[in-house]
């Protein structure tokens, strides 16, 4: 029963509904999600049966009251007779009391049914969301490179909501309708088989009307979905590209195009409206025709003595009840169609094979030493566009290896491969003497402390951002790390100190402080290896000094791979790896490389020039 929502503009590509409304395979798979709640589902169904059953007793009670007390037909017996007193007034009171009891029971049944049904739906939805989120954890980074974030968000939010609707408003409601129909027909058959047949004679006409409606509605519905998809896609682009639209005086053209898409949507709706506007009155008209026949033939029966007046009246009430569910069919049809489309998309995500890297079990075990080694590594993001070619090098235990190279030389790729975000095509990478493919991937990543150019800071407390809510980092470790990162003083000056809330992306912190939080995070986690992607831009002079000192602490006792941009950082390195166009151009200690007279030595001359003008 939750509202349908639409987000994002990817509908144009993926929101086109499937041709079928009912797909047995999808349904079976969806039903599997109800299995943990089979008790609740059973209860829900039982309550539904009870509610529908109680619903059809009303007209029968009226009949009993009429035939026994108001226009007595002594020959007419009912199973309730032994319960009912002879005196008409007492009898009426008894029937009314019985009615009231049934009403209360019906209220209770409906109350619990709504509760149980929605509880089941909501829980199923929660489970499905969890499953999708868990699934995302075992998909590889390459998957996220390909899929727009908005689309995945839609899968886990809107599409799951639609599935809930399928359960609560679709399947269960249809079951309820079917039950009401069945019970009403049962009661009618019990009262008079002949009159039931008379009434049923309108069934073929109803079926024909429904069939025609479905045919038209389907076409209208599809056109509508397609138009909505276009509107969404268009809006998404307009909002994202608003600066371009405004800068380039494109407003009017945009609005004109939008009006055209909007008009398409309106026309599609007109079709659907006509179908609905015809369908509802037609069904009602057929229903009244049925009632008219009941009166006519029922009256004839009363004259001939084969029917009682009460029976005819009860019959007419049953007849009235049969038509509401048929009219509602239109609504449910839409829900089913939307839900099937949603289910298909959700299952498509769930069926994506997990990335081998993310689920690698490997052999548990500790690192044997602190060496990192690349052995003839070849890697391409796509096909054979090699980003790394035959890269071999080692970072010795406790060594600081500086990686230098121009933009696009493959520096960042080295880091991604080391953390096994991508699988290499050839060669091997060894961390602590073990091939990274033999490590359980989680354990592998736990070996590294990582500081990126833009440290990911999330909305939460400052302590939470340093400790990242890891179970192995306690409050004391967070404080120690903050002190070592020269942040303690600043944090103490904040109103809530360590519990100071931070804005998303750390918007309230200066660039330098953000960097220090990143350092503190790496310190707090105390990992044996360090990966540092130094920020390209110079930070304010205020924090520059603190950053240098913290870096010193961070580097000691760890094997570090530092993507270096600043000369002061390169100067501190034990060895320097010069990357050039995906290959290792030079590697060695500062002096060795100078003596070699290659790229690095040329760099050094410039460095000297640069460094000499730098304020101390």
């Amino acid at each position: 029963m939750s509202p349908q929502r639409t987000i994002g503009g990817e509908f144009a590509r993926s929101e086109v509904p499937p041709a079928r409304v009912y797909d047995a395979k999808l349904m079976r798979r969806l039903a599997a999600y109800l299995r943990p709640y089979r008790t609740l589902v059973g209860l829900s169904l039982a309550l539904l049966v009870m509610h529908s059953l109680l619903g059809v007793t009303g007209p029968y009670l009226t009949k009993v009251a009429v035939d026994r007390y108001l226009q007595p037909k002594p020959e007419e017996r009912s199973p309730l007779d032994p319960l009912l007193p002879e005196d008409p007034v007492d009898g009426l009171i008894a029937v009314s009391a019985l009615y009231l009891a049934i009403l209360l029971a019906g209220f209770a049944a409906r109350y619990f049914h709504i509760h149980v049904m929605n509880l089941t739906g909501q829980r199923t939805m929660r489970d499905l969301r969890r499953e999708i989120f868990a699934k995302l954890q075992c998909l590889g980074v390459p998957y996220f490179d390909r899929q727009p974030i908005g689309r995945i968000v839609t899968r886990i939010t809107t599409d799951v909501d639609v599935l809930n609707e399928l359960f609560t408003s679709g399947v269960v409601a249809i079951a309820g309708d079917v039950l009401t129909l069945a019970f009403a027909f049962g009661a009618m058959l019990y009262l008079s088989p002949v009159l039931t047949l008379v009434f049923l004679s309108i069934a073929p006409v109803t079926a024909l009307a429904s069939f025609l409606f479905r045919k038209h509605a389907r076409a209208g519905f599809r056109a509508m979905r397609a138009a909505v998809a276009k509107i969404n896609a268009f809006l998404q682009e307009t909002f994202t590209g608003i600066s371009e639209i405004q800068l380039f005086n494109h407003e009017q053209a945009t609005l004109d195009e939008f009006a055209a898409v909007n008009e398409e949507h309106r026309q599609a709706n007109y079709k659907a409206i006509r179908a609905h506007a015809l369908f509802y009155p037609t069904i009602e008209l057929i229903g009244v025709a049925g009632l008219a026949m009941l009166i006519f033939f029922g009256g004839k029966g009363v004259v001939e003595g084969s029917l009682t007046l009460g029976a005819v009246v009860a019959f007419m009430q049953y007849g009235a009840r049969v038509f509401r569910p048929i009219q509602d069919l239109a609504e449910k049809y839409n829900i089913l169609q939307a839900a099937m489309a949603g289910a298909e998309r959700v299952f498509q995500l769930l069926d994506t094979p997990p990335a081998a890297a993310e689920t690698a079990q490997g052999e548990p075990g500790a690192a044997d030493g602190l060496r990192v080694e690349f052995r003839n590594v070849w890697f391409a993001y796509r096909n054979e566009d090699w980003v790394l070619e035959a890269v071999s090098f080692t970072a010795e235990p406790n060594e600081m290896l500086a990686v230098v190279g121009h933009t696009g030389a493959g520096k960042t790729t080295l880091v991604s491969l080391l953390l096994r975000f991508y699988e290499i095509q050839k060669g091997a990478i060894l961390v602590g003497g073990r091939d990274i493919r033999d490590w359980p991937v989680r354990q592998l990543r736990k070996q590294f402390g990582i500081v990126l150019q833009d440290p990911y800071l999330f909305a939460g407390t400052i302590a939470g951002n340093i400790g990242m809510n890891s179970p192995d980092v306690d409050a004391a470790a967070v404080r120690r790390a903050a002190e070592n990162a020269h942040l303690a003083q600043y944090i103490q000056s904040l109103p809530a100190a360590y519990d100071e809330p931070m804005l998303e992306r750390g918007a309230s912190l200066s660039a330098g402080r953000k960097q220090l939080v990143g350092f503190a995070r790496a310190l707090a986690h105390g990992r044996p290896f360090l990966i540092l992607d130094e920020a390209t831009s110079s930070v304010d002079s205020e924090t520059e000094h603190e950053i240098r000192k913290t870096l010193e602490t961070l580097l000691s006792g760890r094997t570090s791979i530092v993507i270096a941009h600043r000369l002061s950082t390169i100067g501190r390195a034990d060895r320097i790896l010069v990357m050039h166009k995906g290959r290792v151009a030079e590697i060695g200690a500062h002096r060795e490389l100078l003596a070699k007279g290659g790229i690095y030595s040329r760099l050094h001359q410039l460095q000297y020039l640069s460094e000499s003008t730098r304020p101390a």
Partner: protein
């Protein structure tokens, strides 16, 4: 809503017609039953049956037109609203778009708009239908027996009270749920945007825990809504049932006392199904109305945003062209919520046809400065002068027509490259587009695309690299033959060699065009007539390349670092 009043009136007329017939129908049925309970003939019954079908036919006609008029009307209103909304949204400044997430805007323009449509169409229709049907049925019933009628309608105040009460609670709960839903979306969004860092720190379990909490919160608040519904819906059903009991018990008693005939009694019984639907419908209507008004609030919030950057009283519509003189006079810009201004007291002057390079580290205010020229942003203090006049005096369309802007990160629409280049310059000749492509050093890339300039961009077409995107943006800016060209770090994604080639070609082409060039690379800046160095929102150095090098300050340090980069890139 005034413009739709006649159609609403027509719809309302059909609605009254339909509801009148809806009340007449049970009356005929009741009469028929009354007739049945006394002496009757089959032929007479036939007349009743015919009258029923006739009334139902008239009702069907009324209902068809009612639906057709009112629902198409609501679609027309939706159409107008959506056009109005988008017309309004394109006038809102960048600052507005920075403060609303795209997903939120999308939700409002689609989901909330649909809810408002439901309010104005089915909401209005069902509400009036229920009200009119009730009144019509009440009149017919009262004419037959007012005592029993009074009894049946006695619980009505209770119904409207409970509808009001549950409606308010639904409204409040629904808003909570909307917020929870947004939190889930934002949570997943944040997670996906930072997936690498989270993986690197092994945050899987913590993130799952965080998500579990969001998910559970959403579940809890949804169950809160169900707590309301599970009472409200059965309550409405039960109230209908009470009416049955009233007729059965009290009506029956009066039959026994001879105050009414059995026929009247049965007539009342047959009226009750007509009342059932409005009662059940009331629940749906309450839902539609509450959601619709909640959504209307969210839409109104958008519509009430005033375009802060627009033509106004200060505009001098006599200005129809721009020469290209640019001056900043003590300009200070502070973003809302920021502690420090992004620009502090910046003054500079660029004569028409000259070029200015702006260098500085990230966050020094370079982009903010150039955003002032086409008025993507207005200063908090100080003035921006174009050709010696306050930029606010220049009609916005004239000003922007004169500016070619190449942003840091450009947005390409999922259309052909040609369409993207012609953005806002649809009248450009083919050769002009080709010339612009050549000037942006983009022609060899274009020649390699499957359909050349007609190649689609985006998911259904090809994915462009960062450098290709920037060169498309550059061609887009050039094709409109700007008086002022702004390059906001526009060559960051190409290597220095390509950059050099682009800049040389540009210079040949832009001899009398004022150029503002933001760059973190000195190589791009050195050829400009003048260079300013920004640091923390202030101009700290200004002069020519030579002068600045001689100064031995920030510019020189940037320059040296640049040389290292170049050396690395060289073979």
């Amino acid at each position: 809503m005034v413009r739709y009043r006649w159609r609403y009136a027509a719809g309302f007329f059909m609605l009254c017609w339909r509801s009148g017939m809806a009340a007449a129908l049970p009356y005929i049925i009741g009469q028929a039953v009354d007739y049945l309970s006394a002496d009757f003939t089959v032929a007479g019954l036939g007349w009743y049956a015919a009258a029923m079908i006739g009334a139902a036919g008239l009702k069907a006609v009324g209902q068809y037109y009612m639906r057709w008029i009112l629902i198409t009307l609501s679609r027309d209103i939706e159409y107008d609203l959506r056009n109005d909304l988008s017309a309004h949204l394109v006038t809102l400044p960048k600052r507005f778009y920075d403060s609303y997430r795209t997903g939120d805007l999308m939700a409002r323009a689609t989901n909330d708009l649909a809810q408002v449509r439901s309010l104005l169409g089915p909401g209005v229709m069902y509400t009036s239908e229920i009200a009119v049907t009730f009144i019509a049925v009440m009149i017919v019933m009262a004419a037959t027996d007012w005592v029993l009628t009074l009894l049946i309608f006695a619980p009505m105040p209770l119904v409207s009270l409970s509808a009001g009460y549950f409606g308010r609670r639904t409204h409040a709960q629904f808003q909570k749920i909307q917020e929870r839903f947004s939190a889930i979306s934002a949570g997943v969004q944040e997670h996906l945007a930072n997936i690498r860092m989270l993986r690197a720190y092994g945050q899987g379990p913590q993130e799952q825990e965080r998500f579990r909490k969001l998910n559970d919160d959403y579940l809890r608040d949804n169950l809160g809504l169900i707590k309301i519904w599970r009472v409200f819906y059965p309550l409405l059903e039960a109230l209908v049932g009470l009416a049955y009991i009233a007729v059965l018990g009290f009506g029956g008693w009066r039959v026994l006392r001879g105050e009414i005939t059995a026929g009247t009694f049965l007539m009342f019984i047959s009226f009750l199904p007509v009342l059932t639907w409005p009662m059940i419908g009331l629940g749906i209507v309450v839902n539609i109305l509450q959601r619709g008004t909640a959504s209307l609030e969210r839409l109104t919030e958008l519509m009430q945003q005033r375009p802060s950057i627009a033509d106004g009283q200060a505009t001098d519509y006599a200005i129809d062209a721009v020469r290209g003189d640019i001056e900043l006079e003590n300009v200070t810009v502070q973003y809302p919520g920021a502690n420090e201004p992004a620009l502090k007291n910046v003054s500079l002057y660029v004569p028409a046809g000259r070029s200015l390079a702006i260098v500085g580290s990230i966050g020094s205010g370079k982009s903010t400065l150039v955003n002032l020229i086409p008025r993507l942003l207005d200063p908090n203090k100080g003035r921006v002068l174009i050709d010696g006049r306050d930029a606010r005096a220049v009609p916005l369309a004239v000003l922007r027509r004169a500016v070619g802007f190449v942003p840091q990160e450009t947005f390409l629409f999922s259309r052909s490259i040609d369409d993207n280049i012609r953005l806002g310059a649809a009248e450009a000749e083919q050769w002009e587009v080709e010339e612009a492509v050549a000037a942006a050093n983009f022609e060899t890339d274009v020649a390699d695309f499957p359909d050349e300039l007609d190649t689609l961009v985006g998911e259904r077409g090809i994915t462009l690299s960062g450098g290709q995107k920037q060169r498309t943006a550059m061609a887009r800016a050039l094709v409109r033959r700007p008086r002022i060209l702004i390059l906001d770090d526009a060559t960051a994604s190409v290597d220095t060699e390509t950059e050099h080639r682009i800049l040389t070609r540009l210079q040949a082409r832009l001899r009398n065009c004022t150029t503002l060039m933001v760059s973190h690379r000195v190589s791009a800046a050195r050829h400009a007539d003048r260079i300013v160095v920004l640091d923390e929102g202030r101009i700290v150095e200004a002069g020519s390349h030579r002068e600045l090098l001689a100064l031995g300050g920030l510019y020189q340090r940037l320059h040296n670092r640049q040389l290292i980069e170049e050396e690395l890139a060289k073979n």
